[in-house]
Symmetry: C2
Subunit: 355 residues, 2 copies
Amino acid sequence: MTVNQAYCLIDALLRRPVRRTPVWMMRQAGRYLPEYRRVREKAGSFMNLCTNPELACEVTLQPLRRYRFDAAILFSDILTVPDAMGLGLHFVEQDGPHFERPLQSAADVRKLPIPDPEIELRYVMDAVRLIKNGLEGRVPLIGFSGSPWTLATYMVEGGSSRDFQKIKGLMYNDAQTTHVLLDKLAQAVTRYLNAQIAAGADAIMLFDTWGGTLSALDYQTFSLSYARAVYEGLNLNAGGDNPVPAILFTKGGGQWLESMAGSGFSALGLDWTTDLAAARLRVGDRVALQGNLDPMVLHAKPEVIRRKVRFTLDQYGRGSGHVFNLGHGILPDVDPDQVQVMVEAVHEFSPEIQG
Amino acid sequence: MTVNQAYCLIDALLRRPVRRTPVWMMRQAGRYLPEYRRVREKAGSFMNLCTNPELACEVTLQPLRRYRFDAAILFSDILTVPDAMGLGLHFVEQDGPHFERPLQSAADVRKLPIPDPEIELRYVMDAVRLIKNGLEGRVPLIGFSGSPWTLATYMVEGGSSRDFQKIKGLMYNDAQTTHVLLDKLAQAVTRYLNAQIAAGADAIMLFDTWGGTLSALDYQTFSLSYARAVYEGLNLNAGGDNPVPAILFTKGGGQWLESMAGSGFSALGLDWTTDLAAARLRVGDRVALQGNLDPMVLHAKPEVIRRKVRFTLDQYGRGSGHVFNLGHGILPDVDPDQVQVMVEAVHEFSPEIQG
């Protein structure tokens, strides 16, 4: 595992010295790339693409052929775990994920099985193994899952939601059932991420897409405490001196960074609303920070992209502990050349800042 | 103006002693009330209702007949100013506001007129006068407007937006035109709010619904600085010892309270993601705080509503400077009896906390 020493992403996530700031991009394997759209068309549906390890491997590797990214991220969906629990995930064009059998009662929650990742989610583990093989150690592979709270929102709402009426109804009126659900999800997500690590993932990331819809107290109770439970169950230290870094990203969680920084995770993802300099002061040396360019900047003129990249790097400032990323996933209509401008600007500016 | 002395809302907004915590509710005149829906049906369209002073007055007063609220808020829309600038506001059922003539070029921005509120927005001022007359001094009247940034988003996008691609494209690629637009809007909003104050509004509120979609720096540059410009142009002190309090509400602005607290406004509105106790510590004695119950709590069981009201009051704690409110507008499908539970709980619990 000595190759790990060459991974600047891992070094930055563990706040070890780096010569430049590593860069990758949420949804870097995705619709903005014409080569992705061709594979997606061949697959027929998004779920076909996710569940076919060869195709998932192919689209994971695509952005690395174009850009000097410092990580691959497994091509998959945050909702594979609830699908494996029997809810029936499918995707409706322009309308996002839907579950055929959303949770409708406490009995539904009690009946939920905890999947064996090497059986029901075998297609993900096979993809991880294929990707690791395809990467040949050039860059690390990030595995991921949705957070227990975020999975719960989709499982109860049945899909995307504007106001989260059903899951909040459950949370406010029947906290006990909500905790049973979140506890099961924490167990399932822990097993799933551990299986990804065993299959070769070099870092993992927990996407808490909807934690930011909660009140400050409910965030602690229903989102962060279960993210922490996942963290505590992860096998991160099997590699001895090369632990697997774990990243926690709560979109809209900028107000809660102090408590997130105490959750055990090595790094926090930041959306673009958070001031990176202020965030660094707030979390101190407890965690690395990942982010946080507004994805909309990739629609701007190249000189604006370069200026905003420079600003983001300067905001974090000298010293390790920063991974450059967008503050959320890249939008499907971005011109791939714009991404090149961003990536090259990180490569150009950051050695001087770190040097 | 001695009646002002009896307005506990005004006292709390100015951090003067109160015997109990005042309470009102964003969108308290609205679709959750059957008597509102009857008037709305009679009016034919939402814009007909907004532009008819008698009907606007009637729906403004309706919630005060049901609930022991401590304020009336003008029934109107945040987008009346751009409508008066010639953009042609209309509402599409289930799909929110639309402009017939959204801004599409720098030339469109330069041509924008600044409306005379007593001419182009006369219907609003007539409504304010009718409402003041109808209130007979029982409770104060809150006037309001959308913030310059929030108005700009709708004017450029043409309506509601998921990702604000057009306005952010303008902001990133042509900051100069964006500033011209925001400067005009700040002037127009200032005149509009001053006209509402002259017509009798006892407090005003600036709704910055979309400030929270910006990066920390862009929030300062494109939203807060123009909210401050509005504040600085307001005639708040014509009443001598009874200044008109001004409230700034940036949804999703919880990370930026310190700078908002230095903007001059008497009070800050908080959405439900902000910890009220932490917020009070952060802003000190610079501003009062208004909020911040999750609107979804009004779908919960009465005992949950009461517990959450108690928690919110306790979080703020002793001393003046808190106005109880939801963290965002009430949802249209809430049972009016649930609102009664919330309002009565504030009346029941807060004298003990303040006493």
